[in-house]
């Protein structure tokens, strides 16, 4: 046992309001506690219902370090099961997606399971007669998770059997997901293609924090966005309207005032977003016919209200970010203290012009691909930090920008867009959900 495993106080002490200890990023014991406690107690993103539209459709993924499978059962509901055979542990689903028909069948010994996980059959079952097998947990089938919620097509789960409800966990932060889905004239999204998958040798939380870090774009991305603007000026005169690619990349070079004035909103339990008043997505040109089709569904006033919301990045604690205005979702999957994968999904607004999907696909590849000239510099910053944090003589990371003493994260707040309050909000929630189920070491 190490310093932290049965010591919730020591874990809680790693966050001190304006600073956070480096162990949250580089310590393997903390990483293991995160997997066991933080990701068990929080509501974590699994997938989208359109990835499993028909009965028997499945999608294999992971929730933190847990291999799971999202599957559409014969009753039409989506289940989230642990992807292991109760017999020897073999992963039942090996490929990433497909249709299993009415049941899963383990490829090792042909144990089979209904698509809600219940055991269906075992070959030569008489071999288990009078062995006590039927009393064992292994006889029940593929284990499920604590709770599953389908919120407007997005599937979340809580691994822990007991804990906070979905509604209490997310509260008013669901307004960002609502806005993203409302942008479809039919109120429905569909996943488009596979996600980008981008491997980083750094702690997963660095990527989450970066989503509301508004003081880095004009610095870290000067090489891409700044060069783009310089090149564009060279090849065109000033009045040429920006093509979609320039509309996407140019706002990264906006001055500090732009980001200060855009605002940051934080909600309880670690959720928050940049772009309260405007964002880098505000000035995208209109797609002909879109507004009209939205007005047909909602009426002009409500349609305009939906489109006026241009939230930049919404972080859903612990590990996803969505961009409502372009229907993108990024999930930051931890693999080790110093290793994570980010998967970047895009969605189609059902009933809206396909040009919107084209812009979203362009954003995804330009900004978030392993081949992205923007992503390259982000990765460079994270990995330099992962290495730099090992420097002794200074053990704390500073998150003090626009800090106020005794900040209360239990209430929604809107502040200057360059505050690091959302990072502090995430660590406040981190302490809450990681220590929630930790046991205090026996004092004797």
């Amino acid at each position: 046992m190490g310093r932290y495993t049965e010591n919730p106080k020591a874990v809680a002490d790693l966050f001190q309001g304006h600073r956070v200890h480096r162990d949250v990023y580089i310590n393997n014991e903390i990483y293991n506690i995160e997997m066991k406690h933080l990701f068990a107690n929080a509501w974590v993103f699994v997938g989208h219902e359109s990835q499993t539209p028909n009965k028997g459709d499945y999608f294999a993924t992971q929730v933190a370090d847990q291999p799971v499978v999202q599957v559409r059962h014969s009753d039409g509901d989506i289940y989230v099961l642990r992807n292991r055979c109760p017999h020897k542990g073999t992963k039942i689903v090996i490929d990433r997606s497909g249709n299993t028909g009415k049941f899963f069948r383990c490829p090792y010994h042909a144990w089979s399971f209904k698509t809600n996980g219940n055991l269906l059959a075992i070959p030569l079952k008489k071999g288990y007669q009078d062995t006590g097998f039927s009393d064992s947990e292994n006889s029940k089938g593929m284990p499920g998770v604590g709770a599953v919620k389908n919120y407007r097509g997005f599937i979340f789960c809580r691994l822990a059997e007991q804990g906070i409800s979905f509604e209490d966990f997310f509260g008013d932060s669901l307004s960002s997901l609502d806005n993203m889905v409302d942008r479809s004239p039919e109120g429905r999204l569909e996943v488009v293609g596979p996600p980008l998958r981008y491997l980083h040798y750094c702690n997963w939380k660095m990527l989450v924090e970066n989503q509301t870090d508004t003081c880095h774009p004009m610095v870290a991305h000067e090489s891409s966005a700044g060069t783009a603007m310089k090149l564009w000026d060279e090849v065109t005169d000033k009045d040429t309207p920006l093509p979609p690619a320039m509309e996407i990349i140019a706002p990264f070079m906006s001055p500090y005032e732009f980001f200060e004035e855009m605002g940051i909103r934080t909600w309880p339990n670690g959720h928050g977003h940049t772009g309260v008043h405007h964002s880098i997505h505000s000035k995208y040109s209109e797609i002909p016919g879109y507004k009209e089709s939205l007005a047909k569904t909602y009426g002009t006033e409500k349609a305009e209200e939906i489109l006026a919301e241009n939230r930049h990045n919404t972080v859903y604690f612990p590990n996803i970010m969505i961009k409502g205005p372009i229907q993108q979702l990024r999930v930051f999957i931890p693999l080790a203290a110093d290793k994570c994968i980010v998967e970047s999904y895009i969605y189609r607004l059902v009933g809206a012009p396909e040009e919107l999907t084209a812009r979203t696909a362009m954003y995804n590849r330009m900004i978030n691909a392993p081949t992205s000239i923007v992503g390259h510099d982000d990765l460079e910053m994270y990995e330099r930090a992962q290495e730099g944090l090992h420097a002794d003589g200074m053990e704390w990371v500073n998150i003090q920008r626009l800090y106020e003493e005794d900040e209360d994260f239990s209430k929604e707040a809107v502040e200057n867009g360059t505050t690091e309050r959302q990072m502090r909000n995430q660590f406040d929630a981190w302490v809450k959900f990681i220590t929630m189920s930790m046991k205090q070491e026996d004092a004797s």
Binding site: V192, L199, S223, T227, A245, R365, P370
Partner: protein, 159 residues
């Protein structure tokens, strides 16, 4: 200039050498103005526009990519990456001398390295070439990575 199979093959080898030696201005000059460099994300992907690709770049974006590599504040290129292509003999799939249109398929291994890391990608490059004003040019290029569905580290140069 009359185009033979050998002219096409020489062109492809020259292109790979330009990339490996970082002669990007020469490489950009190979392109026709409305060409696209496409690197699909999905196996056998057919649509570059309405679904995510790793790259789908016009000449402006390619210029930006190349210009950035030499920027004073291009932090991910300090130090710089280096790359290396190993080509199999290209297949000439289409040879229409009259229209000045040629299509080739080239299997290759691509190595990119920076600091202590080196990655190897197996690629299939499909070139659409055109003869314009007596010069062979790249009309379009599609690069499929064999393990396109894998999680990648940075790919910073041009496979």
């Amino acid at each position: 200039m009359s185009i033979t199979k050998e002219t096409l093959i020489d062109f492809l080898y020259d292109e790979a050498r330009m990339l490996d030696e970082g002669r990007f201005d020469e490489w950009l000059a190979l392109w026709l103005p409305d060409g696209h460099y496409w690197m699909p994300l999905d196996y056998q992907q057919t649509d570059p526009i309405n679904t995510t690709s790793l790259m789908y770049e016009d000449l402006f974006m390619l210029k930006l990519r190349v210009e950035r590599l030499n920027g004073a504040r291009t932090f991910s290129q300090k130090p710089k990456s280096r790359c290396h292509h190993v080509l199999q003999r290209p297949f000439v799939d289409e040879m229409n001398a009259e229209a000045g249109r040629f299509v080739t398929t080239t299997f290759m291994h691509y190595v990119e390295t920076r600091l202590d890391e080196q990655q190897l990608l197996a690629l299939t490059a499909r070139h659409e070439l055109a003869l314009v004003d007596g010069r062979l040019r790249i009309a379009n290029k599609r690069v499929d990575i064999v393990n396109c569905d894998a999680a990648f580290r940075n790919i910073q140069l041009l496979p």
